[in-house]
């Protein structure tokens, strides 16, 4: 582990680390609205079965999660809670924004109480469009994230340099 902190991680070790990381993602479900049910169908139902992708739903707390799925309408009142959730997660952490509301406000783009996109408060890695997205769409988002994790350089992330994804 000291290798990562020193910023000198050999390439083969990086890819080994990344492969093991990307197939053991603990996903925290931050279900807010309609999308939460589709997320539940993706994570909890036998038909879609997210575990075959190496993603483990239902961690006990955000402190044990690698990935949070913000699914549903983000209102101004819930924003502090989401920020706190993100701060509590251990690094490296990833965010999937699921559904039109979390992406940009969606059908509530002109509402007085809805935050126009969760990316205003936390950085988002994958946006899943749809209102609500089908469970398959969420699974695709997770696969895309796994691809991204596979190409990451952990040492760079540790040094705080901007991520370069090819």
């Amino acid at each position: 582990m000291g290798l990562v902190e020193s910023g000198k991680l050999p390439k083969p070790l990086t890819s080994l680390l990344n492969t093991s990381r990307k197939y053991s993602i603990w996903i925290f479900q931050w279900g807010l609205a309609c999308c939460a049910i589709e997320m539940g169908a993706a994570l909890g139902s036998p038909r879609y079965d997210v575990m075959r992708l190496g993603v483990i739903p239902l961690p006990a707390s955000p402190r044990q999660a690698d990935l949070v799925c913000i699914s549903g309408t983000v209102t101004d009142k819930i924003v502090p809670a989401i920020r706190r959730l993100y701060d509590q997660m251990p690094d490296p952490k990833y965010v999937i924004s699921m559904g039109a509301c979390a992406n940009c406000g969606g059908p509530y783009w002109d509402s007085y109480s809805v935050t126009k996109g969760v990316d205003q408060i936390i950085p988002v890695d994958v946006y899943v469009p749809g209102c609500p997205p089908r469970p398959e769409a969420l699974l695709e988002g997770i696969v895309l994230l796994q691809e991204r994790i596979g190409k990451e350089d952990m040492a760079e992330r540790w040094r705080g340099e901007p991520l370069v994804v090819s």
């Binding site: 009142k77 039109a100 059908p107 002109d110 007085y112 126009k116 469009p129």
Partner: protein
């Protein structure tokens, strides 16, 4: 429609209410075989609810809410941001059972035995937006009055816990008032604008898929 709920029954209800309230019943409207609206003065608002509940059989509570009859100074917000904001168009037009003021509180209850509902309305003067609470009549009015309070800025006298129910504490303004602007619409023109504008020489069909992301 329900065969039991005839016009005569609703007229009887209005007559009963008038017997007990006298001149405090200012207006009413009956849509035969369908619905009933009654407007009372502000002093008897709570009493009217009690009478409806205890003597007329409207025991089941539906809602308490309010309405702002001011024509919206922003139109429907369909104009592009370059256009000047349209000013208040025309006078206040109120609905069934009449009305004299900008704000009206209305409540609804229904009767299980007679299979009909009643909508009670009360006018609030602009300089004193307050009315007696309905909590003694129906305990469920509690949350509805909290909602009407923050959405319209109406004080419900005697409400035990008048705090915001939906909005964060530091929110300014009363969103459901007609003069509360939806700022996003002024920053960005309404994307569905093309569907609502009638085309020259014909009519366009408003698409229902618009507004969805």
């Amino acid at each position: 429609m329900d065969a039991v709920a005839t016009d005569a029954e609703r007229e009887q209800i209005v007559a009963d209410l008038r017997d007990r309230l006298g001149d405090a019943l200012v207006g009413f409207h009956i849509r035969p075989g369908d619905d009933l609206w009654v407007r009372v003065t502000r002093d008897v608002w709570q009493e009217a609810g009690m009478i409806a509940r205890d003597h007329l059989g409207f025991r089941a509570f539906e809602f308490v809410s309010a309405i702002d009859w001011l024509p919206s100074p922003f139109g429907k917000g369909e104009d592009s941001s370059l256009d000047p904001i349209p000013q208040v168009a025309g006078d206040i037009v109120t609905g069934y059972a009449g009305g004299d003021t900008r704000f009206q509180v209305f409540a609804r209850a229904h009767s299980l035995s007679q299979h009909m509902g009643i909508t009670l309305k009360v006018d609030l003067p602009d300089d004193d937006l307050s009315v007696a609470t309905w909590i003694p009549v129906f305990a469920g009015a509690n949350w509805h009055e909290r909602e009407a309070r923050e959405m319209f800025g109406i004080t419900f006298v005697g409400h035990p816990h008048p705090v915001n129910i939906y909005l964060p504490g530091q929110f300014e303004g009363h969103p459901l008032r007609k003069d509360f602007p939806l700022l996003s619409r002024h920053v960005k023109p309404w994307p569905g604008i093309v569907d609502i504008e009638p085309l020259p020489g014909g009519s366009s069909e408003p698409s229902s898929e618009e507004g969805e992301a």
